[in-house]
């Protein structure tokens, strides 16, 4: 009986690992359920040329704006020197972090919460000696900002936008008069179609599609 159980466990365990491997190889079912995160080994899923940080800002009824992150009681730096909101690559949780800060602080009535992404070219991350050895120009870091979500204090999300990178990629893709003209053809006059846009290709407009990611938030 004991051996039978062992054989069963070995079979189920290796079967699960095999399923994860095949699923990952084929790119199918790997986002079907959170349990797939436990059997799909996608540790290196790519990195962009731009760094990104998240700011959570609250707007008071007096039109005063407050910073909700870093959290006022001190924040956890889970993998280095960044707060956890910066690992919210799919923009699903940063607003909740802001709401939690509101619950545990004293403040005027709040009307809206903004989740704002900051992005900059990663070359500006280089330490100064490394920079000087390769570049003749001085470091001139420029940050770009983009509102990713607007929430009400009751946690209702009123607006949600794609990432700065996806927005820029879509903007460049759409910078084509023929493409723009084609996209405006055959639009009905009274009924507005809301076609499902491919994820990550939002043509510079907001995308309400949920990103289904299996990649680790820190890709550790």
């Amino acid at each position: 009986m004991r051996k039978l159980l062992s054989v069963g466990f070995i079979g189920v365990y290796l079967g699960a690992l095999g399923l994860g491997l095949v699923s990952h190889m084929l790119g199918a079912w790997n986002t079907a359920h959170p349990v797939m995160y436990y059997i799909v080994w996608d540790m290196f899923c790519g990195w962009s040329a731009y760094d990104s940080r998240i700011h959570v800002i609250a707007e008071g009824e007096s039109q005063t704006y407050y910073r909700l992150t870093p959290t006022p009681w001190g924040e956890l730096h889970p993998y280095g020197s960044l707060g956890r909101e910066h690992y919210d690559v799919f923009n699903n949780h940063a607003g909740q972090i802001g709401l939690n800060v509101l619950r545990h602080t004293q403040h005027e009535p709040i009307s809206r919460i903004f989740v704002i992404e900051e992005a900059w070219a990663k070359k500006y991350n280089l330490q100064q000696p490394v920079w000087e050895s390769r570049y003749d120009d001085p470091k001139d870091k420029l940050s770009y900002f983009r509102v990713r979500a607007i929430m009400l204090p009751d946690s209702q999300v009123t607006e949600r936008y794609d990432s700065w990178m996806a927005h820029q990629a879509g903007r460049m893709f759409a910078d084509n008069p023929r493409l723009q003209a084609d996209s405006k053809l055959n639009q009905p006059v009274f009924v507005r179609e809301t076609p499902r846009q491919p994820v990550g290709r939002p043509f510079g407009s907001q995308s309400h599609l949920r990103f289904l990611g299996t990649s680790s938030p820190s890709a550790n």
């Binding site: 731009y50 959290t71 991350n125």
Partner: protein, 530 residues
Amino acid sequence: MDANLSTAPNDASSNSRSQGYFFAEEVPFGMALMRMVLPPVLLIDLFYRHPWVRELYSTDGATAPLGVNFAIPSLLPEFGGGVAVALHAILIAAMICSSIGWFTRISLVTAAVLYSYFGLLDSLSTITKYTVIATHLLLLLAVSSSHKIWSVDAWLERRRNPGGPENSELPKAPVWPARLVQLLFGIIYLGAAITKMHTPSFFSGDQLMYWTMTYVNNIHPLGDWLSQYPLILSAFGYVTIVWEIGFVFAIFHRGMKWWAIAIGAFFHIMTMFTLGLYIFPMVMFSGYLGYIMTSEWQVISSWRVSGFFSTLARSIPQWLERMVPASQQRPWAAPAAYALTLGVVALAAVEVEYLRDPYKERGPNGPLTLEEITPEEFDKLFEPDRPIRPSDKLLAFDLGTLQIGEHLSNRRREFKQGERIIAQATISPPHEDMWLDCWLHESKPGSEPNQTVPGRSVVKVGQSVARETFRANFLFKVDESLPPGDYFLRLRSGRDDLAIKKFTLLPRGEVRAETEDDAQAQPEESLQAN
């Protein structure tokens, strides 16, 4: 394979071979070592996160369930702050008990369940691939017989059964849990290789280059330096993927097994210095301990350094015997002590957490206040949407003479007359279809002493750069028509300056003659300037 060192039947049939592979009986040295080492590694994270349990894992905080990313937000129940703190404390206690081998199986199951639970509740700052690997290892430890040696359980068992086998006859158990650990690692590496195959521009080194320039993990002192040499990163990429694919095969070969593991250890150590991954390598090293089979442990135990651990292994039971004499042993004492320990730890954690007041709500002025942002910060944060600045699309502008793959292998600032200069612009994605111009300028004295600035332009070459292209090369043959001295190459996109690079042209020395092969090796888009 090590099965011939075990008690497996020596049968030639494949069924018997697999029986021997999984069900040979050995002393579980490797699994016991893993049981002792893995929990302390995981405790680093657990202790670090414990002060934030209420915020990370409770309804009184801001959980970030992994299920939300999979459109299944209510995958697991969430508890209030006090319960979460108590459960987290029990998890810590269970990890410690697992490591010392006290009620090992219960402790390991408790640890595996709670470790997964907390991970699934926090996809931002808790669950990562290394916590997933650790969960697999805890599960496999729980079904193993790792408690049979070097554990409190083993010591208690010997006391309960003094007529049992002597120390020289250590208990044996089927090796299948260790085999599953070994196969798990092989499959993990194979999966990681598949990921790299799926990742565009992995083999060019570009993805690795951007990773080494990323600061979302811990400090990685080699990262900045290595990011300047994408050719090296490209070579590492190829070596890594070959090793990842070969690992699962190499570990079955007696002569290659430890070489494969040694390369793995080196690879993981390098991820500390180049990518800032600290706990991940330690988890993997803990897992490697599961590869130690009986015959290998016999070799290790013959090393001089192992004498210290042997002495420790002998002295700890003697110390325990003095602390808890056998005469005081009661059948209910151990389970009661275990349950009491978990209970006390949980209650103490709740009390300490209350006294700590993690949200600082009971301070002299009540809850904390919010920090206002300045008008300057407001203007920055809520700036109108703007396109990427042209200079930000350029990662680097380098000069050299030799290109290997896509990369310049010899970046230089000095050239001799007669040489051909490759000016390489590396463009960061995303970018639109671009037209780039590269201007060659003479130098002229600047406003400051010994300063030179771009003077009269000598020549200009241009080319289109398609949106999917990462690099553009401009070729200049600098012959005697250009006198020795300082020159500048200026990269432009439309009316925007992207970069400028100064170089020195030296008199013709021993100049390598241009061969026909060289001419054929030039990229199609390269243009001869003069």
